[in-house]
Symmetry: C3
Subunit: 151 residues, 3 copies
């Protein structure tokens, strides 16, 4: 059971997977914060305590809320594949240095991606950070399929 | 191979992970049901067999369909991180009672969340069930990062 | 560590999980391609280098982009559950032939699903491929919960 955690590479995977997943999870409270501060809700029951006029006005989309939600969606589309591929990659027994390189670059690129997206930094900040993370995952996938292939 | 399944905590993880993932998966047929019963489709090929007039009318969004889709999206944003963090947490070798507590509270909170969302129960039903699930995942992530940290 | 990879079923799981995850990941560059070729962007910073008039015109949604994004979303909703359930299923020690059957049918159905969605093939191409993939995952979930159940 605890055998897996005896492995240094698996411990590194555990650390970085937990970090990026928690980062992704924190997009939800951030969306909630923007919904309340901008007064933009999606469900009728969320504005039930307000006056009829307010209620109508607050059932809307707001560009700031949509921006955070797109960022969250992009996390789902990139961080979940990273976790799966990184787990398989870790189990193929790579060297610690090569694994850490992949994990660190990915984690860094996703944190910078969130900053670029939420603060609307000028392009190509967001495009480059997205591409860096994607190349990390693809590089590990290449490693996995190169060493293990049962079709 | 079957070593992992010899562990009681891992078997508990397997059970609850399978349950919440199947719950999430069943949101898709529910969306399909609402699409057909409300007559609200997203793709032209889905209404190809209908008359031209019907076709135009049914290519639309419907509040009930959108509600189920938001619920499904919220599942993706919360259940997938739970599965990843719970797997890592299980591999750090927690006590069975503490693991079962996390898994049961999470599964219960997500089932209640779906009920709250789809039936539009008055707030704070949905907010509280969402927050309970999130705190479960964060508590396990804290346990993981506290016992394993390789940066 | 490398014990898991000694198992033939686990190597098969690794292969198919990596293949479907990479397929899902490639939906993102495809979305980017459609965004550029159709001139339909979601963020102001993405069109910052263009003239004021162009900028306004390109901040819009386009049916082709939305179609690829719905396909990507459907992948997230189906491929991620498959990976989780298939991992648990693999760890319960199924026969290689039965595991390969599930993995191959799922991978095939998802590739055909993407084709059906992006090329807008007439129904029921998309509906059938989606249902096939879903039944694969549910069949494995049934196997998992049948052999391991700790509530």
């Amino acid at each position: 059971m605890v055998k897996l955690m005896d492995d240094e590479v698996f411990r590194a995977f555990t650390t970085y997977a937990a970090v990026v997943i928690v980062k992704m999870l924190l997009m939800a409270p951030m969306t909630a914060f923007y919904r309340f501060s901008r007064g933009a809700f999606a469900n009728e029951e969320d504005v039930a305590s307000k006056s009829a006029e307010e209620r109508k006005k607050q059932l809307r989309t707001h560009p700031d809320v949509e921006r955070v939600r797109r960022c969250h969606q992009n996390d789902l589309e990139n961080i979940v594949p990273f976790v799966v591929i990184a787990l398989l990659y870790t189990l193929t027994g790579p060297s610690l240095s090569s694994a850490l390189l992949h994990f660190r670059v990915f984690a860094g690129s996703r944190i910078f991606h969130t900053l670029s997206y939420v603060c609307a930094l000028p392009q190509p900040c967001r495009a480059l950070s997205w591409m860096t993370g994607m190349l990390c995952t693809l590089s590990m996938a290449y490693g996995v399929l190169g060493s293990v292939l049962v079709l």
